[in-house]
């Protein structure tokens, strides 16, 4: 073999090391492609991000103050309007469930209705009790004898003073949902939110009359009850007072169902009833004046017997958890009412369902109205 014939064998290894060979070229191209790809992806992501941020910024700018629901100016009350102050507070027992209503007995004692049962509180410091019942209690009333009437969906139970069920009345129309009750003599008046009427019931549970059915011929407009807040009380003048929450009024009827008068107006201002369905509950003092409760803006207010606003028992500031939840829009604030009852001494007991407490409110020494 000559020297010329062996030259290519000697040259080939040197050629493999030059950058122009196929493997090196592919490697370089792959690196370049990878870097270009990463760069491209980064550029695309940056473009998308910038576009999204730009779009968001422009839309946020477009959503101005007019898109915010703000009632904060109504959530402050004038302290000079406060006529009552808190004297005592009792917790609602867990066994009573979610609190739904309250009653002060003519012979003393406070009853809290809940979806778990009934809680009896003795303001004099005596022993209270909790009685769990088979279904949620929407309304409660107390007889002078100490018996307790509890309103359930479809029926009314009669409990003795110790909480034992003695009778159940269930002969009521379909959809019966008692959300307010009052005892007058031997009769019971029941606000049925399910059928938007007041039932007049005798002492054995028999329905004697229906009050408030829409009847233009008798000048009865009918009750507007958008949510289960509907209350009835007998006033010292012998006329029933019934909430018409959708009309923002308290209306007066005879026990035979004749419409007599009404007062109340829709307004977020403290003198009126706010929202779409207020007042949610009320009670009547011995002199015929009223204590009313509202939801949405939790306010407990005072009106004279003619319906003129006279002051506050408690303003929204007294229910900070309620106001905070309502402003935050949390679901537990939806549809939560405040309830009040007048006890035989003229004090007001207020049920705060969200705070799960009952407050004894006493008239301020300096209150002039």
């Amino acid at each position: 073999m000559s020297e010329d014939e062996t030259r290519p064998e000697q040259v080939e290894p040197a050629a493999r090391k030059t950058p122009e060979n196929r493997r090196a070229f592919l490697r370089t191209a792959a690196w370049g492609g990878g870097i270009a790809g990463i760069g491209g992806l980064a550029g695309y992501a940056a473009h998308r991000f910038a576009k999204r941020q730009g779009g968001r910024a422009s839309r946020e700018a477009a959503l101005g103050e007019e898109f915010k629901y703000d009632v904060s100016r109504f959530q402050k009350s004038d302290p000079s309007l406060l006529r009552y102050e808190e004297a005592e507070r009792w917790p609602v027992a867990e066994a009573a469930g979610e609190p739904r209503n309250i009653a002060a007995g003519p012979a003393g004692g406070i009853c809290v209705a809940g979806d778990g049962g009934i809680q009896k509180i003795d303001p004099e410091g005596g022993a209270g009790w909790v009685k769990q019942l088979r279904s949620a209690v929407y309304a409660v009333a107390m007889r002078p004898s100490g018996e307790i009437l509890t309103g359930h969906r479809g029926e009314i139970s009669v409990l003795d003073g110790g909480g034992a069920v003695r009778d159940v009345w269930s002969d009521f129309p379909e959809g019966f949902l008692p959300t307010g009750m009052d005892v007058w003599g031997g009769e019971v008046f029941v606000a049925d939110a399910g059928n938007r009427v007041v039932l007049r019931i005798d002492g054995s549970g028999r329905t004697m009359g229906v009050i408030g059915q829409r009847d233009p011929g008798r000048n009865v407009r009918g009750f507007v009850v958008p949510s289960p807040y509907f209350t009835v009380r007998m006033a010292p003048d012998g006329l029933l007072r019934v909430t018409n929450p959708g009309a923002h009024r308290i209306e007066a009827f005879t026990v035979d169902g004749d419409f007599e008068l009404a007062w109340g107006k829709a307004s977020f201002a403290v003198e009126g009833f706010c929202g779409c369905c207020n007042p949610v509950s009320f009670d009547i003092f011995a002199d015929g004046s009223f204590v009313t409760c509202e939801k949405g803006l939790p306010r407990v207010k005072l009106y004279d017997s003619h319906g003129e606003f006279t002051g506050l028992v408690a303003g929204p500031e007294a229910f900070p958890d309620y106001v905070k939840a309502a402003n935050a829009g949390t679901p537990d604030s939806r549809g939560t009412g405040i309830y009040a009852a007048v006890d035989p001494t003229g004090d007001v007991v207020v049920l705060d369902p969200m705070g799960r407490n009952v407050r004894l409110m006493k008239r301020k020494e300096t209150a002039d109205a």
């Binding site: 629901y69 507007v224 369905c277 207020n278 939801k295 949405g296 939806r334």
Partner: protein
């Protein structure tokens, strides 16, 4: 495949049989998976019991106008004359004047039914999903107005921008066969 001069051999028969069975199994599996995929397909929706009406539905959606709209449960609605989802907190008058309406885009229509009841309907082409009316209804009413992702508009992003931003984790995947989380009786929604 025939072997030995075109005659069908045992090996050939087995070979062909196995290939056929394999193809049949592959087809069956593909059909099964396709069916299962359809059943398990999910879409985005808002749980109205978690929604806090923060307003981000209007601003976070990748669409120019959000796919989130207010819907109305007519079965729950009180048909109130004074609707807090429709009227400003202190309206000048209880009428349809623009100055009395709460909705900044005029997306709620009010119509007289009979004394004293009024019906409220959402005009979806105007609704931007800000939730202002929902807040008014929840705070003072019974919550018959609420927000939902409308699936005739939603492009069902794999990672929903609103769901990512939602402060109350109200967005969740629901079966595509039941794409709405309706409140109330569900009759006459929208």
């Amino acid at each position: 495949m025939p072997e030995n001069g075109g005659k069908l051999t045992r090996r050939g028969l087995l070979h062909s049989g196995m290939r056929g069975a394999g193809l049949l199994g592959f087809g069956g599996a593909a059909g099964f998976l396709a069916g299962r995929e359809e059943r398990s397909r999910t879409v985005w929706q808002i749980d109205p019991d978690k929604c806090i009406q923060c307003g981000l539905c209007a601003t976070e959606c990748v669409l120019e106008v959000s796919a989130v709209k207010c819907v109305h449960s007519h079965g729950m609605c009180g048909y109130c004359e004074l609707c807090t989802g429709y009227f400003e907190p202190e309206p000048i008058a209880l009428d349809e004047g623009a100055e009395n309406q709460l909705c900044p885009t005029g997306a709620i229509e009010r119509a007289f039914v009979e004394d004293p009841y009024y019906e409220y309907r959402i005009k979806e082409d105007l609704c931007v999903g800000c939730g202002k009316c929902v807040k008014g209804c929840n705070m003072f009413g019974n919550g018959s107005l609420y927000l939902q992702v409308r699936h005739d508009r939603c492009i069902d992003c794999n990672v929903c921008a609103i769901a990512t931003a939602c402060p109350s984790q109200a967005f969740r995947r629901v079966p595509a066969t039941e794409p709405y989380l309706l409140r109330g009786k569900g009759d006459g929604e929208k």
